[in-house]
Symmetry: D2
Subunit: 138 residues, 4 copies
């Protein structure tokens, strides 16, 4: 496991190296071994028909946050499976995703995440949850 | 159920009304009751660290195609759950997603999808599969 | 929502009315609104090839516990979807499953569960997690 | 890959060596590389509250059939994840589950299955689908 300052630096580098993450505006809010929080500000281009955050971006935040959380414990990983539960319309000025490692094995890492919408007054509401399974680098 | 010409028109409208779909460049290739094919050309901004299609976009294509397939049978739906299996690196000049309805009930629609990467020589390879559960409009 | 004594009685009745639950020996350990703990003692007939608890019974405990947790908040429900993550061999003298409601909507209830194996010395180890989506009675 | 006669024998042995499979009465109907069909006759002890097949047994059939299908291609595997979609009440005199390998990699095998209820007149109805992810033996 890495120290916190070290792993924030590594995650900043990882996040910055992915073109889609830059387009989406994913920001690392905090990171510690086994737990990462990601933020994305609302932008028009991220919307679906009704102007909510597109379910694909809900999944992208969950997949990315969980991958980062796994990275903090085992280094490089590859997404193998993820699932997304859409519980309420994803509407807000920003979105926060908190991902954590449930179990890190030698070959697989199991993680889960919660995604919150931040309203204009700063209050947060749970709008989605998800899980990912990642493979460690061979 | 709608006639094919009618439902292609409705899907073109639906697809065009979602800002994220326009940004991603999702195109409707074909549509019939219970089955839709979606295409997305590769673009730099859609990449993850290694330059493959970001898993979030893999999920966005699966979620969108399945939602469209459900729409062809029951009209307006809301995504409730989706899952994504990443089986091979999503690398190609374009991606094709074929979604179909497995069971359309009164309250829920179950669908599944396969995502293929199209190589420079035009050959296609299965790189991901997924499932979605959608709620019919109340 | 029901009072705790009332809902334990209702769950005992529900549990006793299902033949498979009686065969498996599912016992309700505790129940409060939105949270239920279920126990199953190890028995030979529940084993797979290597003598661990069969993954089907891991799923049955998760499905049952989550259904009971949903029942405590919204009454009768129908399982629509569930998933199971097998993280470690399910070996022990007993198994405990803790299920909780994540979000109870008008039409759907989202829940999650953790399954622990109890060793001979009484210590518990997380061996599986799962999620369920349930439909409320129409 | 094994020849069909050889792999049916190996699956019969595998199936017979699991106590839960014997209790449930799982029978191998057919097997070929990458595809297995399993049957279970209805029995009272397998029922839930309303007398339908318990969702745990629906999952157990899906998990088992998929594990057998994976075995036909890569030998010993361990279940890592499975999911179950309950689409209609599982009512019938018998249940048939058809599982197939979608992609067999070096470390992971992705499979999917469909479960049919057989009515008194012999007709079959799709009542559930599922997916599993299995790890190859290290």
């Amino acid at each position: 496991m890495m120290g916190n300052a070290d792993l924030v630096l590594k995650l900043l580098h990882l996040n910055g190296s992915a073109a889609f993450n830059r387009w989406a505006g994913f920001e690392i809010v905090s990171a510690e071994p086994g737990r990462v929080e990601l933020r994305m500000g609302w932008k028009e281009e991220a919307g679906q028909y009704a102007g909510f955050l597109h379910a694909g971006l809900v999944g992208a935040m969950i997949d990315t946050t969980c991958g980062f959380a796994a990275f903090t414990q085992v280094g490089a990983v590859l997404a193998s499976h993820y699932s997304v539960n859409c519980m309420a319309p994803a509407v807000g000025r920003a979105f926060h995703c908190v991902g954590q490692v449930v179990k890190a094995g030698k070959r697989q890492v199991f993680t889960r995440a919660e995604l919150f919408a931040e309203a204009e007054d700063g209050t947060r509401k749970l709008v989605a949850t998800g899980e990912t399974i990642l493979m460690t680098a061979a």
